[in-house]
Symmetry: D2
Subunit: 336 residues, 4 copies
């Protein structure tokens, strides 16, 4: 941490602050130039609040140097984490595709799609039982009945299930029935939910928030890990920008950035990331090329009748073709 | 709703879609030009999903025309809502200031600040018992003990209390003890929390999400209202932009925009909106001038020792002076 | 400047870099903790490129500490600059309103509006002769003929004229005929234009770019000043964000921030800043309350027939009423 | 174009507006529902200003339906444009890489890099002679001397040269000496420069502005084309967002979006798009996978001594390896 002082900072006040910091075990180093006076702090500053120090009227600004995450960071955990759900692996060189409908609508629908995506090579089945919708009047998901249908689909196809939790009241059901618990973008900073889900110690798919920085996303993973979870998959799903041609702006550069800073696997959601089915295919290939550990893709047998997100769902036929192209690009990126 | 068709749209498919829409009671109107073909829909389209229609491959895009909120909108509720908590009113010409520390730290602290802000003319006391912190290692608030201290402060000063709920497990305590339940920015789209808090039918302070649009903010209010709440105060607290000179970009234009679209009162938080105590005063006056119904301001007796948000807290002395200036600007804006 | 080194930085390479920096007259200070190694630089680092140092593979990142602007900054020029055009002053306590149509359309139009705004108390006349339009097919302004009409309006009303330059081919005409040369938002980083306009040593109205940071805006002022200009008025005109309810997001907090960092006067453009005439009035008052030195407002006698920007123009009647309200709020903000 | 009227719109005023629009040759269609009244316009609305219509107080809002660009759009020009500079082609299935240093620094430097990138398979040489720098004190490029060195490099390697124009005073030199004239991101809406460069009818590399929408980018291309240019290459180079882990957010989804709307080739700049050399390689591969027609990459023989943009430049060795990987991914994406 670096503290930049105002030009006319009262030396007595600076002295008081320095002593306070030294008492916390930090090493203080004064850096003085003609027009600048800074204090460099070495040691563990993770418990120190930038705001608290900036509240001193003789401080101009404070810059944090070291990363605030420890469990999620690569610094003390250099090797890649591999999330392994009954042999279905993501990370550390294992590429996996999670596919399925936006929401579970009926047994026939989920079974049909699950079989199709399994046949095309998907490793996990996604499907929403509880749906976060921006309108209270929109379809909110089938709830626990949807979870039951997912379990049937898992039994028939062998695909582990990934589904989103919205309310802590369902923690027990998710702990028992769900293979990978999804934290949605809108709940990425729902810290009490993060703590409670983390305490289940199950695999978690953590979606980046709508306007979360990469650092905030890793801090959300840190919450999960500080509560006990180990197997976290981070999902880039597009961020909010001024551009309106796409639903979100898919930030593919987040993949190599996160992988350089963290040992956790990173998957990409080109469906929410773009909002349009015809962009899913190119952006899925792009995600493979930038080094993602996997993809999560919305597939629906009849998108025009889907109860949600039809515009961004691809059909099983398109998915089948896409999986073949993904394999080719993945091979090209990773050979020699 | 307007459906823009692709140039080469298959007439048979368009016909099928038109029939489907007519069966839902909508009035269909074809608009054909040399190079464009659109379908205009009149009637109640609130249950119709843009995504579902865009999933048809002959549709270029869909534009929603009418506002998706009904209870929160001014269209069917033209008169201003006045939130009245034991005579402390916000909205409909009633201007109120909510003040207090970021978090409750001790009985002495909260009592001292509560007395100070009450003496300066604040109408409500704020103070966090449960704090959403981006780091799991940062101070998370005193919890239910903090709530008890807030109750003592209310008893001593007569100020109703405003505090944030994070976890539905505390709903009962909040229903019993809190006057105005705050939904924080990070939970603005925590739809299950919105529904549960709304069902309490208590006054709610709803903070705009970090990158929520005005429409999404009003839809969050709609969730609360659809569950039974009536007395909702919307809070502009800055949005996330590329600018780093301030913690957030305080969007004061949101005040007149929301007030034109909704009957709900709007307050402004210049503390979180800027992140720096020296910007609180000018932006508070700006909020008054653009027509806000109130302010929520962080006040701390010793900001440099505050357990959170010290950098954006003002002292009781500054607050006292600011309240006098607020009164003058409010009078100037609203006279003749 | 602070250089943060990678954990495994090769000491020999660090030594080489340190020597290179010392040879440039900088004072080097090593800051070493258990897990961090930083180099603090004191002295004049303005000629040092962050990118160049980050190109070293043993460097993790570089943080600039001191402000990159000198002439525009308040550090070495603490007193407010007052821009004075024939007694019409902006800055240092002088509040001024610049008003007029988006574009000059005819002698009758500009004369009528100029007389109206002068009568209501405007201190400067604005009007576009050369218009930057996003479509090549839209009205591009009357060009030099428009400049002639502005001169007539100045003669009849005594108001100095403010108008935008687009092409350096018109530098001579602007030097001769225009009182305050406007650099538009889209040209804020047209550095060759900045240098050429700066060399005229005339007053300049510099609009913040569509997504310019405050620092970049001050660096654009620095370009003008480094070429010889002294009298620069900075204009906040809204920035681009994800919000679509307004044309731009008017960043009123930029006013106190710029005024704390720079001695230059700051005016606000609520017309472009919002895009809607009914938001001009509240946001103009807000700008006064946050401490702006003036306003620039689009006024048109018949907005629905305006050749550009009709939606954000107010009528002379509304302007007249607004000027009275501005005076009241200005007095309330600045008294005692 | 769709005009949404206010609920209480005066029928007489609506009638007047409708007549005015009909007189302009537009077909008017009324769409009335219980709570909505819209007017649909069919015909050529490109000369109609949204703002002008919104200036009517009985109009709630106006939505443009058809794309404002004609020459740049795919609607009337379905086949891909191929830009061909002496056999070096971009677009329509031709993939090309433009490579070279940020700025020309010396004959030795540019010749060495040009030879290296040519040997690795680059099709064009980039190099800045005139540099847009955010600080007036930073290196501004070698100017016309730099242009001479680029010509020598072209002669020695056969690579056509791509370099940026900043000032119209150099139009003649660029027309004579430069193969592909670059319009930089900061000048994307410098409309007078666009018109003058367009009139040269030479190939242009048009960089997307720092916060330009895709539509605005295509409108900038429209400016060039309306002035006579035909061979325009659009360059995605990252947009400004709130994320600070990268210099810009590279919007790879812009590639398939632009290619669906326009016939012009699209290249990607992963150097400016990320700001860090270690992200250039993955993002270059990602650009290939999403369907870009080419890349523009900064290559420097000694990045740590580069006079600009060292942090984002890769060495010739890395470039050589990258070119091989690009070829593999390109083949994988485009086969069968």
């Amino acid at each position: 941490m670096i503290i930049i002082l105002k030009r006319d900072a009262d030396p007595a006040k600076v002295e008081t602050l320095s002593k306070f910091l030294q008492e916390q075990g930090l090493i203080i180093q004064d850096i003085k130039g003609e027009n600048t006076h800074m204090i460099g702090l070495a040691g563990d500053t993770s418990h120190l609040s930038r705001e608290q120090i900036e509240a001193n009227d003789f401080v101009e600004s404070v810059k944090k140097i070291s990363e605030p995450y420890k469990l999620a960071g690569r610094k003390f955990h250099p090797e890649d984490t591999i999330v392994d759900v009954g042999g279905h692996k993501i990370g550390g060189g294992n590429f996996a595709v999670i596919a399925g409908p936006c929401s579970v609508e009926s047994e026939e629908q989920i079974l049909s799609i699950a079989r199709d995506v399994a046949a095309s090579g998907a490793a996990f089945l996604r499907g929403g039982a509880f749906k976060p919708r921006s309108s209270p009047y929109a379809f909110q998901g089938m709830g626990l009945d949807g979870l039951e249908l997912l379990k049937i689909a898992r039994q028939k196809t062998g695909l582990p299930i990934v589904t989103e939790i919205l309310n802590p009241v369902h923690l027990e059901a998710f702990a028992r029935d769900v293979d990978v618990i999804q934290i949605g973008a809108r709940n990425m900073q729902n810290f009490s939910l993060l703590r409670e889900v983390g305490a289940l110690k199950k695999p978690v798919l953590l979606k980046r928030g709508l306007c979360a920085t990469i650092e905030e996303t890793l801090m959300a993973a840190e919450y999960l890990m500080a509560s006990g979870a180990k197997d976290i998959v981070i999902c880039e799903r597009g961020i909010r920008t001024y551009e309106t041609a796409t639903r979100n702006t898919l930030d593919l550069s987040a993949v190599p950035v996160i992988k350089s800073k963290s040992h956790l696997p990173v998957v990409v959601d080109p469906s929410h990331g773009t909002g349009y089915w015809h962009l899913v295919e190119p952006m899925a290939l792009g995600a493979v090329a930038v080094g993602a550990d996997g993809l999560i893709i919305e597939v629906h047998n009849a998108p025009q009748y889907a109860l949600c997100d039809g515009a961004q769902s691809i059909t099983p036929e398109v998915f089948h073709r896409l999986m073949k192209r993904i394999a080719k690009v993945h091979a090209a990126v990773n050979e020699g």
